[in-house]
Subunit: 360 residues, 2 copies
Amino acid sequence: MAEAIIHFGIIGCAEIARKVSRAIILAPNAHLAAVASRSVEKAAAFAKDNNFPSDAKIHGSYESLLDDPEIDVVYVPLPTSLHVKWACLAAQKKKHILLEKPVALNVGEFDKIVEVCEANGVQLMDGTMWMHNPRTEKMKELLTDKERFGEIRTIHSCFTFAGDENFLKNDIRVKPDLDGLGALGDAGWYATRAILWATDYELPNTVIALHGPIFNEAGVILACGASLHWDDGKIATIHCSFLTHLTMYITAIGTNGTLHLDDFVIPFNEKESSFTASSKSWFNELVTGWTHSPSQHIVASEIPQEACMVREFARLVASIKVNGAKPDQSWPIRSRKTQLLLDAVKESIEKGFEPVKIVN
Amino acid sequence: MAEAIIHFGIIGCAEIARKVSRAIILAPNAHLAAVASRSVEKAAAFAKDNNFPSDAKIHGSYESLLDDPEIDVVYVPLPTSLHVKWACLAAQKKKHILLEKPVALNVGEFDKIVEVCEANGVQLMDGTMWMHNPRTEKMKELLTDKERFGEIRTIHSCFTFAGDENFLKNDIRVKPDLDGLGALGDAGWYATRAILWATDYELPNTVIALHGPIFNEAGVILACGASLHWDDGKIATIHCSFLTHLTMYITAIGTNGTLHLDDFVIPFNEKESSFTASSKSWFNELVTGWTHSPSQHIVASEIPQEACMVREFARLVASIKVNGAKPDQSWPIRSRKTQLLLDAVKESIEKGFEPVKIVN
């Protein structure tokens, strides 16, 4: 049987939608079928600028795209404050939903989205692209190798970038009414997801914000950090910022091994990326150097990680559409846990850096 | 004028003294002149096993070495609990002192050592070898480059290793009466020094231990972490452990650049070592890759970093001995600040993770 081609529509001409448009074009089982904006002109210009296929439809309203029966999937790159409304409407129209991160302003909002998706039998997945890079799977092989890596004990994850004056003044990510979680919802989403990914999505027992978060005048977080604590003694720290140089790393330390990479969110190069692993490292006899120092592992990616994401999403949707499979709940569960931890960091900040217990 | 050759004596045949013996032999301005142990046999065996020159003296007591008029410098690798006694005695005998880390069990003890050293006009320096690696100076050039690195904002430093059963049962570093600061005084010393080094030894205003330190049955710290906070919003975290895989890194993030290295305490290779630097990194137009991704900088070291340390110490001592210079106080000041922060981490743990204000 030929693989089903899944039709994607995009509501909103956000900057990130340009990258995802290309990803939909590159994914072998996806068709970029439509774009909607609040004006036909804007949507048409977006389609033209982003190499949409000639048969792609141009919609002058989001509702119009949602009513288009040829669309299987709606990609939602809208500001976070609009996610509940548009994701729920899309689900009610039986559209599967690829939802930008952060998925919501808080977990309560996200639960509404999940509820409507479940009621309508549609697949929900967030737009965390690096999850789908083949490198991520290779790194997971290391982390789950009891011999090479052992038990994971400590994880540090950090994503920062220096927003320019225009970003810090005008970007939706610094506006309380659009992306109210600021750096925590954006860069912090990735750092938090990295921790959950590394721990097989085992929620920590406690989250404690680090002192010294930085806010803009409107009260939106521009930089913050937190420590996460598990019952078994595992500990993780995250740090996110819009105010320092572009840096994105994970260091995961187990009893037998260490994993490190410096470009986990967006690889330096989309065609091949790498990570560093060490296992059972020790010192030479006089402790003047290492035995088993870290080695670099290079992983090729046939298509960019965002196209891998689209391909995986289209595969799940095809499975539902063609084979009557049920939506894969592991993706909204991952999204929800990430959101739950962001909420806890925010709550801990608001409570003067008190520990916040995590209740799933 | 020919460079003065400074005569070193070692009191105590600790494991670390083997590495430092070799360093003294390798340093061009140092002579390995004597070793003392509590028994002549043990000292003689140590000298033989560690290629001491044939004219090196063997002392059957520490006192005897301290009384030896040919000795300029005493290297003290004894357990931390013995530092005050032997460093003070050595200083009173006008010996310059190279003191293993942690320098003391607390800053009060260290202040006694400093006082006696000052009263006797002797140079004091701690044995933090990596400070003297030529790589460290190269990295500092980056950190102080306002254009390439900008203002430092965030630093993470981590040093962990997995002690084996024997280590966790018998090593002096897990014994409350010998090295009572445990992992904090050992691995944590380096991580803390890295933070101070990166911030030009500007003390933070507040230190807060992270929840979840791990202790052995005797109450000695086996793993812990802390966050450090400066008035200007800089933030740092440290993590140290005897319970996880060998990992040692610094990530320092400025407004314009990032520095990272994975072997800051003991380089993978003693002859050349590297670090990774990035500056003004950003994404390509579609945010599918990086422009200005990190680059590796390799720095050769003519002699091992511990020999660089001995050479620098001997140079300072020669300057005092030959030219009548005053001891360089910047070294004990660095030691004291490091100790002060270790004390604060310990105090914060003891006070239930309360913030501890740093008073110099």
